[in-house]
Subunit: 245 residues, 6 copies
């Protein structure tokens, strides 16, 4: 059986880098599809941005399922609309933050979350609390570069990521690192090498590739999210949205 | 100083009951204002409904602040958009679920959350986890009546609420009860009496009145939410929303 | 309805500063009353001091209720006798530490507790554990000045408080600060300004004003502590105390 | 070296049963001494009772140390004054509830606490939270007989204890039982036998004998409580107490 | 790249059922290999059995890596020797209990663990505690049939599994079920159907298929466990073991 | 009654120091016996070493009980085989790590664990999690000297232990210290003195003496571990072990 996995990037622009730049997913039994939003923010750097990305993310998830996707991966580490999308569709929905945190805990005992902006610290703490992973959460680290500036400062960002990684491993005793912004797509290898050169062998998780492979593994195991927990919403009027379910 | 407290009901319809029906807030130093949404769901009974209520809730909070409100109370026990609203405005924003849970823990050692639908159990568990109140959370109870049917079944709902309350107190050892749907506005007294008749003297929290009085208390103490934690969003393009900040 | 709120200062002396010095409570619907102890310590800086303050604190709470108080606020951040007083009276009893910690968690995601002496660290940790607020507790900070020396070293104490506040915000990522000694009454504004000048906008909680306003809010909401959880003590002989209940 | 262990029974009366009735402590290297209070309650069944037992308990601990005791055991499962006594003296102070809960967790994975009155449930939950043992706490069970009626209803109390024990083992999966009232002194053996007859082999902890033997073990290991954590109180005036330190 | 995944069944006998009976793994990019132990127990039903399975499990993991395996899955829900194997080899080692619990938490909010024997309750609680998943652990359920009797009582076992599943979903509010014995291989589908017929749509995890697919996903993502956390053991004498590393 | 306490040192060599060097246990009512392993590692510094020490540790526990021991103390701070030994015998089995951590929490509010190697940090975190003591765990500290080099570097090790202890007390606010390697036998007094000279009075726990005295205390109280929780293993074939039960 072929897995059709649809990635929804919950912003209106192409993002820092695309899947075409770094695509490790070519396999005959896997088809990757992709959408951007029609309405929403240009980047997600706050709970405000995230809130405004959710309605169209839900619509894109509904569209993706209708078009035959078996799984939907939300391409943002705030996991915007994860639970609402799970209610709206039956196809498996994966949030890369939840997926990466679970895998990091499994592989490295404790993990650090390394992201763009210091201001996301409470938002990530809320995700960790909700996902029940506080015991495995070693630290939060931030390079403090706005998302839209990453592409133009890639060397600086990479060096800063490596510093964050070393601090996480040495001071917070992290055994795995989660790259906390999908804009860091492709940075994991350089970080792994740099950490390894300092004697640290810890997995560095690039969330979107991991989420795609994990979604595929769950599909091959016949699993989706629970529709009892994430029950379909009741059908009733909705003003101001042209939501097609 | 007069407190101007603006209640945003995050649905497009009048709701089960209005503040005009049960208004305990008349005080010379307190002015209550109110908005409904222009776009959003007719009731909130899922994470899907909640997600679609958030964008216009944020807009209404921004409008309320611009019109002079000192505090904004979101009139739904899912606290939709609480953090995003706190980012968007400087006026104090109160989520009735967070406020009620903290007060219930303070007054009754452990609390139960009694709401409309069984399907909200994981959503409330997520709020409790995020608010850091798991140790004080005794149980979740549901009357299992859709929000929009409450008004037509008030007697049955009240009896069912009392049963839930007795179960919470006897089996889960709750020392306070949070009415987990703002549609239960006004039911608290009947529940208190019924529990008291059975020998249980536990506070029954009617979330909107409590939230209004608590907001007023915080204003009189000169307090608002932290703008370092809930920092204002960066100014950047936003497609498909005509958000006035 | 007028709220009559009685503050019991659980020491035998006037304390560092009085309510007359800094009284933000003047409102027509609020009457503030006050008692000191007849027997007990001159200041509370240990579990020993606290233990010896409790019996007469209970008596003063009983007296206050008999004289018509609707709520009693215990004026010490160890919340001495909080549960015993709640058993002894039906009027709402508020401990300023419990009240401030809950409000700080609600407004700032995580809070630090800044107090006089390093030796109080385990005592505060015990309160946090009991109140179920560990997830929201960012750090404990101490200026290390004995309570009775605060008044004569106010400038130094204020500077030290600001240093503690900056450390709490920068290193422990606190989003709210609780002034952990009622002797700091009135220092909150200076701290807020100093933190704000450094770019940090976090609420600084002055516990007694907050507790009074919160008590008033709970009274206006018709709430008191649970008399099922804090049940009245059985009537039985008591040797060596002339307790009037 | 001989261990001199002083038991302070924090009430003014002889109690339900005395150490003379059931004394398993006769050993040449162990001397047991005993005090009652001069002022305090006749039994401890509330936080109110407990609060009034503490001042004279501290005095009796100070007296016991001055008279040569190496360790002091407080003979009440609310551990009244435990921390204050540890501040007041350097001799090891043991609270039987803390000691029993730790030993029960060590021997049986999870423990239930079986005591006299349902109303003590929140008080015991507070002790468990403070002692950091929530993960090992299986359940609270109560026979619901006032302390002073135990002696006259011993058969009924024993049967009720056995029922509580079976419920704890079967429903809460407790692997050890803590007898949560020192008035149950001597009931452990009968409970063990009854549970064993039903196929359950779980330790039943009689707190005072255990506390005495544990105190002796700690003395033989050269251990006392930390005087950095439980630092001696500063010397300063104290009104209304004739405390001899 | 082809994933070579080696399953080590940590007992000396063929087990209840083999991979040949139920093999959902046929894929061109995946090769499954398998070993039994030469020394160890015939089934694992206690910590004693588990302890004696570990030394040869480690040897078989070392052998598997030397023979070219990219990942090793330990075929027992006690995850025997998981950490020791991770130290001994660099190839990814997966414990099916850890993997299933993480996936169940991700898909179903809270999970129940359904296994053979009531006596395994504390052992599973210890795994949950170690893996940091207590918040997501809904309940433990047991069919109470010895492992070696499963094959001869398959109908009864299946009915009992369904009863356990319904209890987990209805009373413990589990949103996912982990089949806690690898001997239940193949029972998941029947359980899913039975639960679905009662209106419950919750994933039922068959741990070995899931672990194999998850191992494959991690290999495709370039991930292994952290060799800093699970560092290779120092080389030093070892008496009585002919361990080939 | 005389307590016969059998210490099993779970390695094949004499270890860093023996009980003959430092024996504080001479008492007429206490007999100490001792075994080494016949097969296993020369020291325990990893989960791998620990796993290979367990089978013969179980055998030695069985032998010790058959020879009349009332209690068995496993002489390694990884508590290897603790639960399996408790299943295999009815005599009380004590793990020194579990015993020391509980006593340290009881005496000092929070404890630090000071051991030989940094690489043991996750293993100790796992024990703390399993024993349910996370709230009382202040920090992990390591001198970073291999176990077998301790004897030749005793001065350096002692200095390093003191540094670790000061860091634990000053930075992690530990109120008790657990010496996390039984090879540190006898170092506790020097550490206590050094810490005391710096003004810190915190108990320093030497785990084997404490475990012996605690075992004796439990025996004198008539207690053993729960045989319902640690139920005897079923009798069934076992290949490759000549286990005599």
């Amino acid at each position: 059986m072929k897995s059709i996995i649809h990635i929804v990037t919950p912003i209106v622009t192409r993002g820092v880098r695309t899947l075409d730049d770094v695509d490790p997913f070519r396999r005959p039994d896997l088809e990757i599809r992709h959408s951007l939003l029609d309405s929403g923010p240009v980047s997600i750097e706050s709970e405000f941005d995230e809130a405004l990305s959710v309605p169209d993310t839900i619509q894109k998830a509904i569209d993706a399922e209708r078009d035959g996707a078996n799984a939907i991966v939300i391409d943002c580490m705030g996991d915007p609309g994860l639970n609402a999308c799970r209610e709206a569709v039956s196809a498996l929905v994966i949030g890369p933050s939840q997926a990466s945190m679970h895998m990091a805990a499994l592989l490295g005992h404790k993990f650090s979350f390394i992201t763009v902006l210091e201001r996301l610290r409470p938002m990530i703490a809320n995700l960790v609390a909700q996902y029940g992973l506080a015991q495995s959460y070693a630290s939060f680290e931030a390079v403090d570069v706005p998302v839209l500036d990453i592409e133009n400062n890639l060397d600086e960002v990479q060096n800063s990521l490596i510093e964050c990684g070393l601090r996480a491993v040495r001071e917070a005793h992290a055994g795995a690192l989660v790259l906390g912004c999908t804009g860091f797509l492709g940075c994991a290898d350089a970080m792994s090498s740099a950490l390894s050169a300092q004697g640290y062998r810890v997995p560095v998780i690039d969330p979107i590739p991991l989420s795609v492979h994990l979604a595929d593994a769950l599909l091959k195991s016949g699993m989706s999210h629970s529709k009892t927990i994430y029950a379909s919403p009741a059908s009733k009027p909705l003003v101001g949205y042209d939501m097609q379910m």
